[in-house]
Subunit: 424 residues, 2 copies
Amino acid sequence: MASSSTAVAAAVSQPSSGGRRRRRPGLKLLLPLFFSLFLNVFFASYLFLSFHQPAPGWARYATTEAEAAAAAGCSGHGRSFVLRAETPVCECEACYTGDDCSWPVLDCAVDADGEDSLFLEPFWKQHAAGSSVVLPGWHSMNSRDGHRIISGEIERHIHLLHKAASNAMTDGKFIVFSSRPAELLNALAHAVSANNNSSTPPNVVEHVTSLNAREGDGGSPVIFDRSYYWPHYYPIAAPADEGIMLFSISKISGHAGIGFWWAAIKDEKIYQRAAEYMTSNAVIVSPDTQLRVLKLIKVMISEKGAGDIFKFGYTTLKARWSQLHKLLATSDRFSLHPFSPNYCSYFKTVRDPTPAYAWLKCEMDEDKDCQAVLRKFNIISGSGKLFEGDNRYTRLNLCMTNDHFELLMMRMEAMVSKEWISSS
Amino acid sequence: MASSSTAVAAAVSQPSSGGRRRRRPGLKLLLPLFFSLFLNVFFASYLFLSFHQPAPGWARYATTEAEAAAAAGCSGHGRSFVLRAETPVCECEACYTGDDCSWPVLDCAVDADGEDSLFLEPFWKQHAAGSSVVLPGWHSMNSRDGHRIISGEIERHIHLLHKAASNAMTDGKFIVFSSRPAELLNALAHAVSANNNSSTPPNVVEHVTSLNAREGDGGSPVIFDRSYYWPHYYPIAAPADEGIMLFSISKISGHAGIGFWWAAIKDEKIYQRAAEYMTSNAVIVSPDTQLRVLKLIKVMISEKGAGDIFKFGYTTLKARWSQLHKLLATSDRFSLHPFSPNYCSYFKTVRDPTPAYAWLKCEMDEDKDCQAVLRKFNIISGSGKLFEGDNRYTRLNLCMTNDHFELLMMRMEAMVSKEWISSS
């Protein structure tokens, strides 16, 4: 200390050549040092508080296990599970391989068939805290565990969900739900036919899956499948308001592995018959499933603005459709069906539809089987004929992971490039 | 710069009092500054890279919530759920009421009908740590999530479970499983009829649910329902070894709310046909369910001695049967079917069966409908006729909670006492 104060005294007492006051060189570094130290204390406290809070009690082991599995990461190309001796194991997404899923599979076929909605996975990872569920070992022992309470809560939250999305009018309507779509449809078909007052009950119940295609004679009872009528996919012109409307959790939250379908029913007698049918056929939804669905719906109705799943879904699909349109604008061989924008009461703006599936059409005479054409380019797509179109159409599921969509775009770019090469 | 170099020169040229070499004061701070800056970069990078991973400690909220729910206790007469604003809500067991389920319902009817196995609930509460599961928000988005890995593990653990219980020979056999018994039975019925080599496929497939009652002509394919063939309920004379054997999780672990049934199949062709049938009918078991079942089986095969679920189940039912036998030994009006003890290779001792259900017989001429007789004493029991017996028999499910069994015994004691009073 003595030597530095002497130096300071000497520095102060000697006039500098420019007449400037001499500052202690140490002071120039002190400020950044204190600021940097402060930052480190801040970071360390944040990490300490978030890491080292042990979860007290019985759920701690399961929590540690789950967090270890999540932390495994699998290079962002897979999902991890803790199976043996607390070692996470990765199950890789399509087109990746290796213990940590870091190796791309050469010449991998892109799977654009199927109906999963993994594009919503990043949303749930961002909302990990609020959306996760701890199932104690003794949960779901009673086949009717929490039935009255949780089922009542699910019904209440379904109403709130439709209100939040403004996609369906459910006030005053009744909700039934099931783990299997067939069970729900059977119950509804039974309920509407039993309800028919004519002496000859109807032998047709229409299940309308497309927004436009009514084929019946107008006399048959109708069940409207509104599974895709959410702001992720379509402008919500007005809330749907049919007598019986079907929805599924997988199309709104993306959880295709949780089987959960519900119907909103206007007529109380139809509702009662459907409910009785399900009770007498012992149709129950596992309390595990009910708890998970309740949690997911709570997150979806609580988030507004940037945390909104509808916005997340719409933004993602909009970008993908834009890429697709841009690419195919340069193609004579392939085309997409045109879209008409419409006002969306959810986003309060005019917007294009951003459907889950793209129907690609093969325009060339020789491309009679569009699915086969894409298969040559290592793209697996849905058959047009299977969906009552013709083989010139093929269906692409755009709701895949980011990785897989990038791969799809690469393959399609190669496909369109080949067209230019052939034509030149 | 001029001023500081002058000061440095001055500092260097003046001898210090201790004879020590004077260092530039700036240097003393440079090192800590660089180190601190390095730490800043490290922390910032870590936080940035972990942005797209769920925040550490993400499962903590769900853990706190679940533990709060469990701690609510509901006076030991109900189950609690955290539904609104982190407030546990109790759903009371039958015959209890009130916010905390502490009020018994006067003249409550004891429900001894049904098929739940809640007598095993205390076992799972004792094994809370190992048996609980954390389901992250992004679990089960893929309808085939972890299918290959987890399904393979479930199959492996089913084999281990049967080995541990020594109740079925499954070495070399194939396992299929489903969430719905009907789906599994349909797949098996399809598989065995398709497999039949004769020109006329069988029009009967026997589904044998009782250990003894074969009714077929010996020619039809048979599916043996071995759901109850566990040490909890029966002496395991020898491992069952039929061509197709059915089991369900609810009868071994008590989880009636988790739908999970499996079949052990000897013939590979039959197995392949059943598996193909299930695939083409999109029969999947939710990844949530698979993870839960895997956890439960792991606990059941890991525990030996005092922690053994088979011992727990057997001990509980043995005590209950003993009480029942003791009570009905004093009755002329009611009787139980007699038991023959047998050697049990699991417990390595001769023991009585301790079945899940007691078949009570009404011995008096005037008691033609035994179910109705018990109903007068506020006991709801199963109809004999429904189970292809006659109405002199009524079925009591003994696998209820301790509370409910105590209440059943009280009612039955009252019933038997009335007999003494009438006869005296």
